[in-house]
Symmetry: D2
Subunit: 283 residues, 4 copies
């Protein structure tokens, strides 16, 4: 049974819950999930409402007009989604297979609620993995010299395949500011440290050198500032003096997989609202 | 600024969020927190709404009448609370000091949002601890012979001090079924295992014998079935073959303290709804 | 550079560390890892010594004779292994793909330090997964009627492929007591609960019904008593009232994968010693 | 039954385990704990040996001479301790009570294996807490102007009370480089973040601003570089967008208490070896 999902954030003010709940109820919608949060320090209201469309009297086509009428006087920023319109993801990969295999096997198991029309890679190493799961694999090598052309190729493919969100599944290239600006909160990265500790390259080496007792992984939206975007999810694991850098790399892979897949899943389910370089996650 | 807190559970039906939100908004209340949950398997709706009373036009005295009008046609089970009416807790203790010290130092630090008018003990061991924090200490030894009289004494003290909730802070006695029945969801226990593993006595010994790699603690409402009541909170810690039973006991104390205090805090903040021997915790 | 690994357990007595360390040093071995543990309650000594064979003067063939001379007067139970003799694993599967994919992708990434000469299944569902990773797949359907013959077939295959350890990667059949007895501490299972809570079938349903706030997974050696064998590894994840049974199943898969793979890895590295239905894990 | 504890680190070389184990065994010592670690990247060997003195034939007075003979040819850095010589701790506090109460109640429960002859404070706020537990309380206000004299007073008290280790239990002052240099690996701090994330002041504010999904606490030895010393222990807890800064502060207190107490306990038990700005913890 399809549902509509409405995401809102706006200045906090009286009557917001009533306004949305009344709109849904008066038009025959039955609320399935209703989450709200007020950042009282910043005075911002966040909401995610999901309702059953079975007896809802407004058509999908007309719904935006009605929501606009609700939103404008309250200065709401909003987006509307339908549970049966599947998200389309592009996976960007490099040489590391673990996140790719993880996402593809979840996709195959029906865990992900999304389509994966293509994989884009800057190395050929993971072509066999893509082929095993029958996902088209596009090799676009990126060098300092060809970066603008390579990104143009990537963008053309994303457009052609109607991709909504890009998942950097251990794609070791830094995206240009143009892409970051054009795809706000639509590019999800996995960084192999507990940010803001150890940004940049070789975080497990840095963690080993610093002698931390816990390592982590962080999934975040990509912004123009490297490893500084809104954090969606993090997780950690204990380590001891016994672990070598190679052990950290190996153990970290398990973190990276699960943290990235949680972030992608919540994003796909429209449970993540980003604002002020942070996220509200109605998980 | 005081708030009103309304807890509801009822059969799921369309329009519940609207009904409550409209009631609050139309009478000048500004919603501060609004949490809802639908157990779709059981068809039960749960809600916790908290609103600012500053401009609310209905007096505290009249409010129950209005809520009854809202609740009855929808078969709502409800309770109403005010943030400035401080919860009154009685702590029941035996010989172990750690949970008692933990609760008293949190209370002193203002973390607990509750008053502690008295401590009831079946041993004298913790009297000095109580005295350090200036909480009246009542010694009521319990033996198989005097149990009914002892419980009558306890109940008289609870009534005299207008106690709302009893916290069994490692009180090693089993309450009689009469008390359990008379105080439903108002007696909070801490059990020193990850229930339902290792109910009953000496759980750390059992955990050691079984060779588990993780131990836990569980805070739950007390019911007539020993260690079977609705679970409010649990937490765990990793252990290895190196730990002796004594080590588990020591490490477990840290779990017990934090799990119990979280459960008490959520309970005091009216964030816990119990039903069907489970809890919804709007933490 | 190959190493020798010696595992010992015996009654605790003075001079054990010296005896082993001296034997290794006097014959030119350089200790790489040396772990010992004394269960002082039971009076049992456990040891894992790993030494570099580069300048070791005793040949692999003669080594057992020397170790026997060391072990017999001290009543040591021991086993000897070489790091370059790769462990041979058979994976038993049913219909659930997640543990199989996880083990195969780790194997492909070189994480597992073992060979996987075959997969044995009682359903055909995972044949494509096996084929993707080029591992021979043997379908042996098991019914109440054919169980003895099916197990005979399984055992013949294990012998033919010189399998040392069987991994039950969500194989939903219960092995007969004969196999359990014949393969002590050589069959590793993953159970989808935090044992001893929720043994047997449908543990996520039981966990949901009981309203636990944390779910877990347990990897253990298989014994004749169902879900009662020595625990190798466990891990857990927090859940809330929001999760349905299906959510628990999905989240639990991530636990099962990582717990099973850790157990298999430690077993393969000869880091697990089982005794008294418990394990010492020198991880 | 008293034990001797020998801590060693030295360049890795063949025969180290044998040398120590033989020395102990030949003189009648029975090893109770024996832990070793090789940092193979740096080529450093670490060892902690603990043995029963019941039948040990060398007196405590003579033992250092013998160990020196063992250590010098192998370039060992070593220290020798006896389990019945209780560690003497000074607690430095400011205004926050939680770590102080935690340490004092553990001390009272016999968990800490150490004496606490005095508390030194730069504010008078925690005098009542100290008095409740009958620990002498010394107020030494520290201002930019009087810092050298204040530190001289502190050092005089530490010497007078034969203090071995200083615990900064949320002492908000920065020690001078002189003290840091004079007390290497003998001053333990608790920092209220997951270092190296959020060093310096107000880490919970920084964590909230950055929108992390996990917060932490770190206990480390104090060095001249602020928050840069060898990490002994860390732990973390999940947070969500719901938590305000005040919530983080409150939840963080539970982390700080347990992380600091673990670090102090391991230190007191001589289980921590510091080198290269990292620690080996034989926990």
């Amino acid at each position: 049974m399809p549902t509509a999902i409405l995401l809102i954030h706006c200045p906090d003010q009286p009557g917001l819950v009533r306004a949305v709940a009344s709109f849904i109820a008066e038009n025959g919608g039955n609320i399935v999930h209703f989450d709200q949060h007020v950042d009282s320090q910043e005075g911002i209201f966040f909401m995610r409402a999901e309702w059953d469309l079975a007896n809802f009297v407004i058509s999908r086509e007309d719904l935006p007009v009605f929501i606009r009428a609700l939103a404008e006087p309250r200065r709401m920023t909003w987006s509307l989604h339908f549970s049966d319109e599947r998200h389309r993801l592009a996976l960007f990969v490099s040489k590391d297979a673990h996140c790719l295999y993880d996402l593809l096997s979840r996709h195959e198991a029906g865990e992900l609620d999304a389509d994966i029309p293509l994989i884009i890679a800057n190395h050929d190493a993971l072509r066999p993995a893509a082929e095993r799961f029958n996902i088209p694999f596009h090799l676009i090598p990126v060098t300092p010299e060809n970066k603008p052309q390579a990104e143009a190729q990537q963008l053309a493919l994303l457009e052609e395949h109607k991709v909504e969100t890009v998942v950097l599944a251990r794609y070791m290239q830094i995206l240009s500011n143009d892409i970051c600006a054009a795809w706000p909160n639509r590019v999800i990265n996995i960084h192999h440290s507990f940010l803001p500790a150890f940004p940049g390259a070789k975080p497990y080496h840095s963690a080993h050198r610093r002698g931390v007792k816990i390592i982590g992984a962080t999934s975040h939206y990509v912004t123009a500032e490297l490893d500084e975007g809104p954090i969606i999810e993090q997780d950690v694991i204990r380590v001891t003096h016994k672990q070598t850098v190679q052990d950290l790399v190996r153990q970290g892979r398990d973190l990276e997989k699960v943290v990235l897949s949680r972030a992608v899943r919540w994003h796909v389910q429209r449970k993540v609202l980003a604002y002020n370089n942070k996220t509200v996650v109605f998980a």
